[in-house]
Amino acid sequence: MNKEQKYMNPYLAGIILGMVLVGSVYLSGRGLGASGALKSVVMQTMSEVAPERYNEVPYYASYAAAHEDGGPMKSWLVFEVIGVVLGAAFSGIASGRMKLKFEKGPNITKRTRVIAAIIGGMLFGIGSQLGRGCTSGSALSGMAVMSAGGILTMLFIFGGGYMMAYFFRRLWL
């Protein structure tokens, strides 16, 4: 494996990412996303593990009805995330960053980081469902199409992060 390379200039990366988003809207008429694919995973699991619940409880049933054709996994976002996996792997290999590694702040134990990652992930999972999309689907793509809700979600993601940053500084600093 070659030596780990430096990250791309953030503004250049931003322009490329913006172009990808324009391409997405031009071709498919929609923006990027990530949490929607996680939802598909949950729904697919539900349909297999608890099919009665999946078909009867209104929340799941309405999703099931909307995805009757091909099931939860045949969705644009699932395929997009497959692309994300391929793109990230390609980039990681090309830049020599593809290796198992556990990252954490310098002053916490591994155990704390594991718990924080689970709780943080859960909060993001819940918040993304409430906010109809995460940083990419709601905030970034919403900003690109000038959606008021998208910008609002973005302000609250970053605003919320900044307001809470002080209390969780031990995790990172």
Binding site: G18, K39, Y59, F79, G121, G125, S128, Q129, L140, A144
Partner: protein
């Protein structure tokens, strides 16, 4: 072909392929930018690394500028693309919960997937947590339903909320982003105890970047929408004079109507009120202002069809004909008379002069017949609509 290319040019299966390609670009860029590392992501909240903000805002601004310019050029129908709907409370509460998740977990869903792919164990755990969170949300949904659905405002745009024009908003947001880049640079240098560059010593490529972002914003600001441009040109006397228009006489139109020629659109481009007061049988109404609406495209663009336009003033009809021609609609004709004149010519009985020639005798016979048949056709047509409006479906998107 006006984009988005789904569903007309790209079918559902190819669209999934497009998704993979788009995702590849997305994942590649996120990883290249360093978003696979939680330290880099958390940095934005402590001021030591603003990479997240730089990439995020540059991407958002670039995409906004790109999409708006494509719309201005008429290459992209922005009325069809997915605009995230606004639900006031869930957008705010959901956003705040995500912010909390961000600062505790150190990732967001997209970046955690990228991190997990290149082997960051903490990112893999975060992905698992996020999936669990989506599940928990589903189980809690009956409790959250109220907040989730409250204050639904539809696909509201931010410039509408601020009471700005789209153009002004684009310029302001671009300037705000550039301002934020400069400001966060100084914060980052201070937090990390480094000397900041001045305007003199700054790497020129960053100045170039600023210019590259401002130029499209200004172009947008000074470019009217394509519809507006065409509408203005259609009212420009010089433009109209340069065009040769083909004409139908009232007799010819009446004859075609009586033949019930289905290969003909008779289009009234006056206001709806004028149309309702009096119109020519088989005609339908598309006011001049709405002629560019794409919902009429299917009706007007059939190559086998003839489009006959009428109005109360020849100039108005010419403007309409100009627009149809510019939109490349085929076989455009103008009725060489106003609605009133059409009725005067065809429907008013008159005495044939003794000296009338053959043609006039023929016209007289024809009009006598038309006087009987046209009202009958008009009566018959009241039962059924004659225009087929094809409303293009808005694209479904978002994360739900």
């Amino acid at each position: 072909m006006v984009a988005p290319l789904v569903p007309d040019l790209i079918n559902n299966d190819i669209n999934l392929l497009v998704a993979i390609v788009v995702g590849f670009g997305f994942g590649y860029t996120l990883e290249q930018a360093g978003f696979s590392s939680t330290k880099k992501l958390a940095g934005v909240f402590y001021g030591y690394d603003f990479t997240v903000l730089r990439v995020f805002f540059t991407a958002g601004i670039t995409a906004m500028l790109g999409i708006t310019i494509l719309g201005k050029l008429g290459w992209l129908d922005v009325s069809l693309i997915y605009v995230n709907p606004t639900f006031l409370y869930s957008a705010m509460i959901g956003g705040a919960v995500m912010g909390l998740g961000f600062i505790i977990g150190g990732f967001c869903p997209g970046t955690s997937i990228v991190g997990a792919v290149i082997g960051r164990i903490d990112a893999m755990i975060f992905v698992g947590g996020a999936i669990l969170g989506v599940f928990v949300y589903g189980e809690m949904f009956p409790l959250l339903k109220g907040i989730y659905a409250a204050e639904a405002m539809g696909p509201l745009t931010s410039f509408e909320v601020l009471g700005l024009s789209k153009e002004v908003y684009v310029v302001i947001l671009t300037l705000v982003a550039l301002g934020a880049f400069v400001m966060t640079y100084y914060i980052q240098q201070r937090v990390n105890g480094k000397e900041a560059v001045t305007l003199k010593t700054v790497n020129k490529k960053y100045l170039a970047f600023g210019v590259v972002m401002i130029i499209p914003a200004l172009v947008i600001f000074f470019t009217p929408d394509k519809e507006e441009r065409l509408f203005t040109a259609a009212h420009d006397q010089k433009q109209l004079e340069q065009n040769d228009f083909a004409y139908y006489t009232p007799d010819k139109l009446a004859y075609k109507i009586m033949k019930q020629d289905s290969a003909m659109n008779v289009i009234d481009v006056r206001s709806k009120e004028a149309f309702d007061a009096q119109n020519i049988p088989t005609s339908f109404n598309i006011p001049l202002e709405e002629l560019q609406d794409r919902k009429y495209e299917v009706t007007l663009s059939k190559p086998s069809k003839i489009n006959v336009i009428y109005a109360d003033h020849p100039e108005q009809a010419k403007s309409a004909a100009y627009i149809l021609k510019e939109l490349n609609y085929p076989n455009v004709y103008i009725l060489d008379a106003s609605t009133e004149a059409f009725y005067q010519t065809i429907m008013m009985p008159y005495e044939l002069q003794a000296s009338a020639g053959l043609q006039e005798q023929f016209n007289h016979r024809f009009r006598s017949k038309a006087r009987v048949e046209l009202p009958a056709i008009a009566e018959k047509l009241k039962q059924k609509p004659v225009i087929r409006i094809v409303k293009k479906k808005k694209i479904q998107g978002g994360c739900s």
